[in-house]
Amino acid sequence: MQIVEIDGFNAHCVAKGIGREVSLFMLQDESIEIGDCVMVHVGYAIQKMSELEARSAWEVYDEMLALEAKGA
């Protein structure tokens, strides 16, 4: 969900047009700003979403092999 308002540990978040009050209490080690996206579970934000996408370490491994092959 995306954060649209922050008041202490409370945040107002929206996802697909639906708004919800979410606790930021579990994210005290993160810097959280309006506009950030968080994963919410039972009313608590459990982590800030990053831009990274699903991938496997094998992709990196294969890319390196391909580079080595080129270099050789």
Partner: protein
Amino acid sequence: MMLTAQDWLAKIHMLPLKRRVRIMNVCGGHERSITMAGIRNALPKTVELIAGPGCPVCICPEEDVYQAIQLALHADVILVAFGDMLRVPVNMSKREVRSLEQAKANGADIRPVASPREAVKIAQENPLRSVVFFAAGFETTTAPVAAMLLEGVPDNLFVLLSGRRTWPAVAMLLDSDTPAFDGLIAPGHVSTVMGPEEWLFVVEKHSIPAAVSGFMPVSLLAAMYSVLRQLLEGKPFLDNCYPELVRPGGNPSAKAQIAQALNDADANWRGIGVIPASGFVLSPRFGSHDARIRFPDFDLAGRKRAGQMPHGCECASVVLGKINPNQCKIYGRSCTPKSPIGPCMVSDEGACRIWWAGGVRNNATVSTEDAQTFVVE
């Protein structure tokens, strides 16, 4: 360029798999995505996907559900619980109250909640009444309970905690003589909170490939590809196919809050038995909010079938991945979501309910034809 679900599926089909490979997931959300997207049917026939211990409601001790029912009926409390706990049956005769839902119909003040914050609100709005929050869940749900306690709760709120850690059940399976799987899809949100390192033992101690996955088919298929390739190349490691949320070390605030508010304890898993250090209890600091201390234990010595699964229900074997849901003799016969016999048919995270929702209607040795066709968004 990021690969799509379809790309990962094609890569899986290109792997030279020769023997049957069993991949276990330990998360109701993973099992739901796998079943609803029809991933079982889309994979090579040699790959078998097994639903493992991923449903906290399914393994919540029968004694705890019984205690919650009795508290609601006899202790003049408001009992709040996550919604899918309400229909879980205990082992009582049909004439007696067998679930929180039936207790509610009999006049008990039972309120379903979707968040610990709602439990706090109900306690604040009812200062003259005791409110018992029956909280069953794995780490992702138990961490918010710890946060709730540390943020401050009213004096009249008590927690009946049935929190469990996921990894000790997997460790128990792997330490048994017949581990039911060759590769593990590690849970995404448990790893988000606790850190992926919790699953390193699978690789380091047991040399079994593992990959943390998210909940979209693309992440699940990337994790499955990773596990299969690890097997083929004989190089097991812990892959992270859910990097958007899962970071090294997990969520440090959440872990610190669990450590401050809760202690580890040996814990009972319904139908399975006690697994060492697999449960959470409130720390003495929160003793005044511990429903287990504040209220008497209502269980009767000698109550018939206390702690067991309902008669004929194979949930314990389903939860441990020893059988598929439709290998239970009463799956789809006397046990359906409309009239569930066991907790695995009650909870949204229960494998029986998920398979039923996914359209598996036959009661037989599993056939991969049951799953729906593969849908990629």
